[in-house]
Symmetry: C2
Subunit: 219 residues, 2 copies
């Protein structure tokens, strides 16, 4: 079983300090929600983000969305060989049942995440998604993997297929992929740093390479 | 060079027969556009779609978006080994320069496609995306590939890595992936039908498997 953690994801509700900013107020009003109920989104809150620490990287639910669509529709997931977790910049962890069908439409996905932040589980009956206050280290300790690999620009350079083979040779490997577009991990993580390409890749590209090259050796 | 065609994609402007439907009129008004200028989108035009032929499969710009984000951010694309084309249900072809950075945000992508339908090239100076009236057969004749493979549920079952090897052994292979969620291809295509899994997969999952398993053998 491969455990995939999308870590330090830029997924959060609008922080308190910018809830009165006009772009946020108008955005929330258009959606019929209160500012504290909507996800921070760099596409719409750009001018407000400039006032926040790390503003240039925050508010990226799109990265989480694309990573999840790819992971949860992968062959590895369908074969029951994959578990996916989302860890956020504010140390929340989203547990996702492997049979979950993530909304294909981005706006619906955002609505689902807003509901998850509010209710902590969605839907109430099936509990396909569940959010807990938890740090990355705590999550990894809980999963108890047999090896932890951190996808990192400065890691040991391996061909994707070589890395896939490494993963397949371990009983319960765990791979950490950063759920952000630039900068480094905020969390401290103990594990082996791996790079699969000589230049930066998007988070979802790394997710695709890790999963398909893992599949290659286990099927 | 691998040529990837997302074929019979459910990407179109709202058809004439439903431009007066309330859900379409309201949707266009909210966007500040005329009904004939907006993309058909099953998420928002569901009740109007019921009145259309093939209504249950039409209006899926999201599938094209996710396929393009994956393909154009792949390692194969960065290495200059991939060309991607989108063919639509109304026989338009979108040519995409490999250096194109597709908007990550879905609503921005929809805006870009609406602009492309209107102006036929975007942006005007760089012409990263260009749309032409063209059938799938005509596109394939123009590319002149050394082999055509159609990803199809009823095709010959090959492991993804076996199929990747097949592709890598051909100088200019062309792979056709359906840009729709259910049903069959509408276009007639001459080529070898291939299946990489015993059950249906999402279009973007097939795109990911084809590209990463092709990379495996050529790097």
């Amino acid at each position: 079983m491969l455990h995939l953690v999308i870590a330090d994801s830029e997924l959060e509700l609008v922080p308190k300090s910018i809830r009165n900013h006009p772009v946020v107020v108008n955005y929330a009003r258009r959606k019929g929600k209160r500012p504290e109920e909507v996800l921070l989104d760099s596409t719409y809150h750009h001018t407000a983000l400039k006032k926040l620490e790390d503003g240039e990287r925050r508010g990226r639910p799109d990265i989480v969305h694309i990573c999840l669509l790819n992971a949860l529709e992968s062959i590895a997931d369908k074969k029951g060989l994959l578990r996916v977790y989302v860890h956020t910049r504010n140390d929340e962890v989203i547990y996702i049942k492997p049979e979950t069908r993530i909304p294909r439409n981005y706006n619906r996905f955002v609505g689902l995440m807003e509901s998850l932040f509010k209710n902590r589980v969605v839907p109430r009956d099936l509990e396909l998604l569940r959010m807990e206050k938890k740090g990355l280290k705590e999550l990894i300790d809980e999963i108890k993997p047999d090896g932890v690999f951190i996808m990192h620009e400065n890691g040991e350079l391996l061909k994707p297929q070589e890395f896939g083979k490494t993963l397949a040779e371990i009983h319960e490997p765990l791979v950490v992929v950063g759920g952000f577009s630039h900068g480094d991990f905020r969390s401290e993580i103990l594990g082996k740093k791996i790079s699969i390409y000589k230049a930066p890749l998007m988070a979802w590209t790394v997710v695709n390479e890790v999963i398909t090259n893992f599949e290659h050796w286990v099927f």
